[in-house]
Amino acid sequence: MSTVEQVTATLPAPEARRQSLWRAVLRTSEGKIGIGLGAFMIGLIVLGQLLGPATDYNVAAPGSGSSAAHWFGTDALGRDVMSRFLAGGSTVLLIPLVAVTLSLIIGGSLGLFGAYWGGRPDVVISKAFDVILTLPPLLIVLVIIGGLGSSNTVLIITVALVYAPGMGRVVRGTAQSVIVNPYVLSAQARGERDLSIIFREVLPNVTGPTLAEFGLRLTYGILFVATLSFLGLGVQPPASDWGLMVAENRGLITVAPWGTMLPALGITALAVAFNLSADALSRVLAGDDLSRLAMI
């Protein structure tokens, strides 16, 4: 019985039990790897932007393998792969980030208001979501980019449009389970305005699941934008972009594999980093409720 720990009647002070979401995420192994990898990749991309793209085109033989001068070889036009890799990360990260944030703002607020008001506005909003969700994302993108031509702005708006219904549904679903709580009724009984109730009572309680969904969508977004660039619908040459680099160098994969491998690895690392972080976040959030049930 020596292993039995004697615990006194008092619970630890609330300050000791309370921990920030951030710390809890970092405590999980997914969180550690995800956020560590993410920080490394973002650092690499920022560094690449600071150094600027290498100006020395055609300095070496096209499609050469790795050497002391070009660590990861050169591409079909003789450009240094590593230099283009360092310079090309920003679009892969920023376009999805801005687009998914935009989809969160548009879809999230529509979902939130729909859930709160219910009735006809809610029906219209959810049906609109459903219509967009029935269309294949690539088809939407083809039509819009085919019509407007490709630019970063068009790319962001298109991706945001594709992802808004998904974000909206998650926010709406979570909000629906929040607004039936008596604390919302209580606010209504106090005579609080709708906007005040939405922002003070509902919004803080949907942030958790929304954040997890945001992380997951970001993963999809990175892959989606990279795919679009690969297909020639996204970032256009001569810009350096990882998706575009994979497409440009895929003919040389047997001769100079780094030209495709390095950007592909970059995309994978980014996607894995965000995915693991999102996983850690949802695990922490789910465990948040479980820990309360765990006692006797």
């Binding site: 004697q6 009647a9 009724l185 209504q188 106090r190 803080p204 006797i296």
Partner: protein, 642 residues
């Protein structure tokens, strides 16, 4: 293991369920020195049940009482070999006939469960698989434990369903759990539990969550089945009133230990342990307006070895209690107590029924004298659903409420009592009729009402956990109400006003920065009450405010409400399904059924000389501790006199 093997063979013999041989003194289950712990994240073990000794006899019911978190369910389940995930049995023996349950392999114990050992949980709807028909539930049990199948099984299934008095047993067999009502689901669980004529039956709050009248039928049915089958029963419940009406013996648990055990009749009158005394004093009665007293504080989360675990909350604790751990002692042939001072306190611990003669400022009868009542509800009908499929939850209800009067509304779930409160507080759109406050008709939505009007009507909800925003601190929650309704409090004095309110609900300043999840249920409800009183209302609406709480905590909340409202002259509209609570708190009461008022009048008259048959039925159906003290058990036929 040979004993287990025999049991298995017996269980597989077609047509017959195994018969358990009884122990030497006739006990069906003997539990000795049972200790249970939980693994913790830091590698330690939290001991939640310690050294429990129990004996279950055929045909007898042992009640296991105590507040939530005292290890009742854990002990009951561990006694039949079940461990919660993460739980470990630290010591003990549990002998069923001649089988030692705690030493058996899990696969062998599982052969006994559902056969010789049956268990019924609180929520029948959750314990039945929604994807299987009722027949499949029975088939599984009967095939596994009785070797029955085909026509034999069907015959037994129909017989069982008839024995739990389910109408149309053939139809029920084909249905899915969700197609049955809560009471019917619990009957099915009962029939399943009795399917193999178990030797031991564990009941874990089997009627909590059911309406009082359904609860009575289930309890009566249970008693019949116990008498017929001679099963030994362990009945776990925090409801002492109910437990005292169904049990032969009661064991009271506190902090994982058994603090008192003995026959129920003597225990409810003259408990031996101060904790039992405190629990009993917290139980309200519908038969008389008794004073009740809650127990301050909370039970410890694990077993205390160096002191009496109840000492911090005990009225009779002395130095010895804080420094030494008392052992359980035999006081009388059948009674044990774990208290150093049992002998010297015996007289003090006798339960003296104290009739509460305090009169609230707005006593009954004042309504007729007043020309302008505080609240006037005139021909109100409330509706749910869309225009096309409109359902009336409240139909043509009218009543008046005087200043500082406490009016109770009783009725079963679905009687429309909560809906009515929502209409009054202004969170229900669809109602007809007029609700007036001091003669002025109220707008439907609270937003449309002027702020001074809104200030006067405040509400407290049933579930304290969900009535406080989990992302706001206590100070934010109460502060918001102060900022909205209290113009006399300047901005920089808000924190002081909040602290003052917390003090009025007996919470210290240290709660200011806590989040609701860091409070116990009782503390959360206090915060909700403080938030309502922040507005200095003239009418407080209480929607089942004690239903989600333990009896000991509920009593403190009732006391608090009584104290606050009578001091501030606030009128209260108290909605509850618990007649005893309404009797304790209200001057006048209304009985509602299916959205209509059956009867209204002063609580004295309504509870002692009910006229409406429904009121009489309700009063007769509730288990009441006063009846047990007077030597009466449940009264399915008629209401007892006061």
């Amino acid at each position: 293991m040979s004993a287990a093997a025999t049991e298995q063979d017996g269980a597989r013999r077609p047509g017959a369920c195994a018969v358990t041989r009884l122990g030497a003194d006739g006990a069906a289950l003997v539990v000795e020195d049972l200790s249970v712990g939980y693994h913790q994240k830091d590698g330690g073990v939290l001991r939640v049940v310690a050294n429990v000794d129990l004996k279950l006899f055929p045909g007898q019911v042992l009640g296991l009482a105590g507040e939530s978190g005292c290890g009742k369910s854990t002990a009951a389940l561990a006694a039949v070999g079940y461990r919660h995930p993460g739980g470990i049995i630290l010591s003990g023996r549990s002998t069923l006939g001649d089988t030692e349950l705690l030493q058996m392999r899990p696969s062998d114990v599982r052969l006994l469960w559902g056969g010789q050992v049956a268990y019924i949980s609180q929520n029948a709807g959750m314990s039945l698989n929604p994807a299987l028909t009722i027949r499949r539930h029975f088939d599984e049990v009967l095939r596994r434990h009785a070797g029955l199948s085909g026509a034999q099984a069907t015959a037994r299934e129909l017989e069982l369903l008839k024995s739990v008095q389910l109408p149309d047993p053939k139809g029920v067999l084909l249905r899915y759990p969700h197609q049955l009502s809560g009471g019917q689901q619990q009957r099915v669980s009962l029939a399943l539990a009795f399917a193999c004529r178990p030797a031991v039956l564990i009941l874990d709050e089997p009627t909590t969550g059911l309406d009082v009248t359904t609860q009575t039928y289930i309890t009566a049915l249970l008693q019949t089945l116990i008498a017929e089958t001679h099963v030994a029963v362990m009945y776990v419940s925090h409801d002492l009133a109910l437990l005292s009406t169904v049990s032969n013996d009661v064991a009271v648990m506190y902090a994982g230990e058994m603090v008192e055990r003995g026959p129920v009749e003597t225990m409810v009158k003259a408990p031996l342990h101060p904790y039992t005394n405190a629990l009993l004093r917290a139980v309200p009665s519908a038969r008389a307006r008794q004073s009740i007293a809650g127990i301050a504080g909370e039970p410890p989360v694990s077993v205390c070895d160096d002191s009496c675990s109840f000492a911090p909350r005990c009225l009779y604790a002395e130095d010895r209690c804080r420094n030494e751990h008392p052992e359980s002692r035999q006081i009388e042939p059948l009674r044990t107590s774990r208290c150093f001072r049992t002998e010297e306190l015996r007289e003090d611990l006798h339960i003296v029924v104290d009739i509460d003669r305090r009169v609230s400022p707005g006593q009954a009868g004042a309504v007729e004298e007043q020309s302008l009542s505080l609240l006037e509800v005139d021909g109100v009908s409330c509706f749910y659903g869309s225009r096309k499929r409109r359902f009336a939850a409240v139909r043509d209800v009218s009543f008046r409420l005087a200043d500082a009067e406490v009016l109770g509304i009783v009725g079963l779930s679905g009687s429309g009592k909560s809906t009515l409160l929502r209409a009054i507080v202004g969170i229900l759109d669809d109602y007809t009729g007029a609700i007036s406050l001091r003669g002025d008709k109220l707008a439907h939505r609270a937003v449309k009402r002027p702020r001074p009007v809104r200030r006067q009507v405040q509400i407290v909800f049933q579930d304290p956990a969900s009535s406080l925003n989990p992302r706001h601190t206590v100070s934010q929650i109460i502060g918001r109400a102060i900022r909205l309704f209290r113009e006399d409090v300047p901005h920089d004095k808000t924190a002081d006003a909040v602290a003052e309110l917390l003090e009025s609900v007996k919470l210290s300043r240290s709660f200011l920065q806590r989040y609701p999840s860091e409070l116990s249920g009782g503390q959360q409800q206090r915060v909700a009450i403080a938030r309502a009183f922040a507005a200095r209302p003239s009418l407080l609406l209480c929607d089942e405010v004690t239903s989600a709480l333990d009896v000991s905590v509920a009593a403190t909340i009732i006391e608090l409400l009584r104290d606050l409202t009578s001091r501030s002259g606030t009128a209260v509209l108290f909605v509850s399904h618990d007649l005893a609570v309404v009797r304790t708190l209200a001057d006048r009461a209304i009985v509602m059924r299916d959205g209509k008022i059956c009867e209204q009048g002063s609580t004295e008259k309504l509870f002692c000389a009910p006229e409406h048959p429904y009121t009489i039925e309700l009063l007769a159906s509730i288990p009441d501790i006063a009846d047990v003290r007077a030597g009466r058990r449940l009264h399915p036929e008629g209401a007892p006199s006061c």
